[in-house]
């Protein structure tokens, strides 16, 4: 499905006015999605991007592929329906952390159980931006971002842990200011066979005044000798971390090391691929066990009517068991 011709990120741009706040971390995610699709030479019409509600959800209007901006928390089931009805499409799904882990938490868990071949990206900024900065599910206990009346009374959920517990077979984390690295993660997630989850740390410059670009970049803690900031974010691959389950017997070990890494926060925040396991059958493969023609002739592509609208479905066999023949 990749094109021969070279594509540019601008081939995936629309003319819609972008109304995110200046400096929003979402710009990095938008840009990297366009770059990843171009680098993968995806035909725009073969891609559908589904989003929920919030600033993150507006992304689809800025990308020139089929775009489905849905309901708060429901991006995953909409995306699942698209992908199941036409498994030949490339489906990306985008949410915010409130969208995907708060109101949509139930779907997050169940998507892992299916292992459908698609990528789910969470724009993770710890706040509900579009409703003026309330605390979102990844904001830590006791943290008081600027529009909160009191320090956060809830603790944070760990998206990496949750994705692993739910059964995601590829789990990664990116940072919206590490552009090249994020493009690479998006491409890996898109190409992963199965359900891939990518958590993207994305500063909200308007409402999250704690986890800012400067904070991630370590500008508050400079190296005494060089005077250079000591970034909090570091890349797993730089430290030789191998997330891949090479054979099924490694699942326990690889899951454990991913969970351990995902506990790191504060002074050292890992980004990169935490876990990758292609030994779990995808949902499409499970359906194929029951319906052998599923991939070639999925629900969306079946012919249901003749040239004059004659219904093509033949119920004879089905009705046979319900029929009492005449004498």
């Amino acid at each position: 499905m990749a094109l021969e011709q070279v594509l540019k990120p601008s081939d995936f741009a629309t003319e819609v006015h972008n109304d995110w706040c200046p400096g929003c971390g979402d710009f990095g995610i938008l840009r990297t999605i366009q770059m990843a699709l171009a680098e993968l030479r995806m035909e725009p019409h073969r891609v559908t991007i589904v989003s929920g509600i919030g600033c993150s959800a507006k992304t689809i209007h800025y990308v020139k592929t089929y775009g489905v901006h849905t309901l708060h928390g429901r991006a995953l089931p909409y995306a699942t329906g698209v992908k199941l009805a036409n498994p030949q499409l490339k489906v990306l799904c985008l949410s915010g952390d409130g969208d995907g882990l708060g109101i949509g938490g139930g779907h997050f868990v169940n998507a892992g159980r299916r292992n459908l071949d698609m990528l789910y990206v969470i724009h993770d900024n710890g706040v509900y931006g579009l409703t003026k900065g309330q605390a979102a599910p990844t904001l830590k206990l006791g943290v008081q971002t600027k529009s909160l009346a009191h320090p956060n009374i809830n603790d944070a959920v760990n998206p990496i842990w949750l994705a692993l517990a739910a059964g995601a077979t590829w789990v990664g984390r990116g940072y919206s200011y590490e552009i090249k690295h994020l493009v690479s993660l998006l491409k890996q997630g898109i190409e992963h066979k199965g359900y891939a989850f990518l958590d993207v740390l994305q500063p909200c410059p308007t409402y999250n005044d704690i986890n800012t670009k400067e904070w991630y970049g370590g500008e508050d803690r400079k190296d005494a000798e060089s005077g250079r900031p000591l970034p909090r974010v570091y890349k797993l691959e730089d430290e030789g971390f191998d997330p891949v389950v090479h054979e099924p017997s490694e699942i326990e070990k690889k899951t454990t090391q991913a969970l351990e890494k995902a506990l790191e926060w504060g002074d050292r925040i890992p980004i990169g691929v935490f876990f990758k396991n292609e030994h779990v059958p995808t949902f499409e493969e499970r359906i194929l066990q029951r319906v052998s023609t599923y991939m070639d002739n999925p629900p969306a592509l079946q012919s249901i009517a003749g040239p004059n609208g004659e219904p093509r479905t033949d119920l004879t066999r089905l009705v046979q068991r319900m029929t009492f023949k005449g004498e």
Partner: protein, 658 residues
């Protein structure tokens, strides 16, 4: 003088604790009748419970089509005490009770599953008959009325079967008692035992030993019962018949209609009673095309390999949204649910409406509100279906009243959804979904699939003339493109949108889009043929007109047959299309009626209020029922007669049903 024998007009009831096989005994009884050329109509009643609570089947067998149940029972068959306590009073004086004599000493107070209110009622009944409170006392009271008692020693018969078939433990064959009760029933009715054998073979097809064991037991019970009651007033006889008959439930009828209509994707979350349909579909995912169903082909060409996908979701929110996602790709998609699940779907319905997505929702109504009575009946969701969701979102609402309408509406829902690009809510009520009956196979040759206005990449779209999903330039219906098509990229959003599908808050565009969406509803009202909107039965100049909808159709038509035979001038307007509401058509039928009677299974007379809203016409009488049991034609006949005589109050509440 003895009353004349009544041939092929029978009301039969079998009951027992849930999980004991009562289902299959009713199935065998009904199939034996159907095999013998009779029409049957069966009603199933059960608690929200897996095992132990009382369940029963009331079944009517007749030479002619049967569309409803009646209050009385001619033959009550049971192998345990509770059923007898609960239903003995319903047995007609000339009827019979098949029972286990070893249970005679069981006391009413020994049965914990009988509710306090009913127990008190039964105690009063027994006291008024001057008897004690054992099963024998209950039977004595029945016998005094003339009811024939048919004691069947179930345990002795089971032991004989165990001996014959060398079964070491009796507990392994306890379920055979069900077939003993059926066999004994057919014995006193004098029905051809070969039909029962055929029915057993049909139901237990793959298990030869099970068939012969059950048949042997049933034959013993048959012979014994026949010797005990050689001259019973009710008889069943075979009716020679050339045409085939279908034997199915309302859920199956709906599923068949949807499949025939080209449905290829359905989502569901388990819920009573809607799951029945999805489970039936799950069992039948591989479909045949183009009349090759009966000829196994060595190699099926690719385009002949049809299939559908049924997905069990994590909740009903996922069910409605997943089905919507699938509909965007072009697959005919639906979800099926019941009250509480439908409550969770509101936001998704609004999204489908604003994005003009052809989504079908089959709503199996049950008694609400909240959990209500999950396994009982009600037509309580009409208003809810019409208004579900915030804001104003057009949708089409259809309500089926019998099996053929279930099939047709299941089919039509997809046509309407695609032609008018909006959600279609197909209302079925539990009384219809869970009933099973024989019908003549409906002639569906008039049905055609209409996919509405579809865009494709060959329509000459270009950079300067891009495809616009919500084009305002060509009437209210804009060409619908499918995800994945080349040349027609579009965007959807739950926000108000412009022609491309991008967010807008522009007041002018907002008006244009609201008006576009609602104009489709006007168009539907104009185009949908009258015979889909409603059906009128009875004399055109009737001074009394009944207005009803849904499953009450069967009981009404059966009751009306009796009233018409008595010369009553009553009409019956059966409404099927609820949105867009056929105001002018309904008004035309009601304008001249002096007496207008709403018949509905709900508290608030919901259709009556919708009629008044759209036509200004108020009902003069209401016959309503909301005790969770479907209307019997007996009580409906009596209530209508009373209204006809001018004796009924404005509001009559029907209360029968166990």
């Amino acid at each position: 003088m003895a009353a004349p024998t009544q041939v092929n007009d029978l009301s039969w009831l079998i009951g027992g604790p849930q999980g004991s096989g009562v289902d299959s005994s009713a199935n065998v009884f009904a199939r034996a009748c159907a095999a013998g050329g009779l029409h049957v109509f069966g009603k199933r009643e059960f608690y929200s419970n897996i095992m132990g609570e009382h369940s029963y089947f009331a079944l009517r067998a007749h030479t002619n089509l049967v569309r409803s149940h009646i209050d009385s029972v001619n033959v009550l068959a049971t192998f345990e005490a509770e059923t007898l306590f609960r239903h003995a009073r319903a047995v007609t004086d000339d009827g019979a009770i098949i029972y286990d004599p070893s249970l005679g000493k069981t006391r009413l107070s020994d049965i914990p599953t009988i509710e306090k209110r009913l127990r008190a009622e039964l105690q009063t009944y027994l006291i008024s008959h001057g008897v004690g409170e054992t099963l024998d006392d209950m039977l004595a009271a029945s016998k005094r009325r003339g009811v024939a008692l048919v004691p069947i020693p179930f345990k002795d018969l089971l032991e004989q079967i165990a001996d014959e078939f060398q079964i070491d433990q009796l507990s392994k064959i306890t379920r055979v008692v069900n077939m003993l009760a059926v066999g004994a029933s057919f014995g006193i009715l004098g029905f051809d035992f070969a039909m029962m054998r055929a029915s057993l073979e049909d139901v237990f097809r793959a298990k030869a030993k099970v068939v012969s064991m059950n048949a042997a037991g049933a034959q013993k019970a048959y012979d014994l019962a026949r010797s005990l009651v050689p001259e019973f007033r009710y008889r069943l006889e075979r009716v020679p018949r050339k045409e085939p008959r279908l034997f199915l439930t309302g859920s199956q009828a709906t599923a068949l209609g949807k499949l025939y209509g080209g449905m290829r994707f359905q989502t569901y979350y388990p819920i009573t009673p809607a799951s029945d349909e999805s489970e039936f579909l799950e069992e039948n995912e591989i479909l045949d095309l183009d009349g090759h169903g009966l000829v196994p082909e060595a190699e099926t060409p690719k385009d002949k390999a049809a299939s559908m996908l049924v997905v069990q979701t994590e909740d009903e929110i996922a069910a409605v949204t997943m089905a919507t996602g699938a509909a965007l790709t072009g697959a005919r998609s639906a979800t099926a649910t019941s009250g509480p699940g439908f409550s969770l779907m509101m936001e998704g319905i609004g999204w489908a409406s604003i994005n003009e997505v052809p989504l079908v929702i089959t709503l199996y109504q049950r008694a609400g509100p909240s959990t209500g009575m999950p396994t009982r009946h009600e037509q309580g969701d009409l208003r809810f279906a019409l208004h579900a969701g915030h804001g104003e979102s057009p949708r089409i609402v259809l309500a089926s009243g019998d099996f053929e309408e279930c099939i047709r509406d299941g089919f039509l829902s997809f046509n309407l959804a695609e032609r008018y690009q909006m959600p279609v809510i197909h209302l079925v009520d539990k009384a219809l979904a869970n009933s099973y009956a024989t019908i003549a196979p409906p002639n569906l040759s008039d049905l055609r699939i209409d996919r509405g206005l579809v865009a494709n990449g060959n329509n000459g779209y270009s950079k300067d003339n891009p495809y616009k999903r919500f084009d305002l330039g060509n009437g209210p219906v804009s060409a619908r493109a499918l995800l994945g098509q080349e040349g027609t990229i579009f965007w959807n959003t739950g926000d108000e949108h412009d022609e491309m599908g991008h967010i807008t808050e522009d007041p002018g565009l907002r008006n244009a889009m609201m008006e576009k969406r609602f104009a489709k509803l006007d168009l539907a009202a104009k185009e949908i043929p009258q015979d889909v909107k409603l059906t009128y039965f009875g004399p055109k100049d009737a001074g009394t007109v009944i207005v009803s909808w849904g499953s009450t159709k069967g009981a009404l038509l059966d009751a009306l047959d009796r009233l018409w035979a008595e010369g009553a001038k009553v009409g019956y307007l059966h409404v099927r299309l609820m949105s867009p509401f056929p105001s002018a058509e309904v008004l035309a039928f009601l304008a001249k009626a002096r007496r207008r009677i709403a018949v509905e299974m709900n508290f608030g007379a919901q259709l009556a209020s919708v009629v008044r809203e759209h036509t200004g016409v108020a009902m003069t009488h209401f016959i309503l029922k909301y005790n969770g049991r479907p209307m019997s034609n007996t009580e409906l006949y009596e209530a209508l007669r009373s209204v006809g005589k001018g004796k009924a109050p404005k509001r009559t509440v029907l209360t029968r049903g166990a």
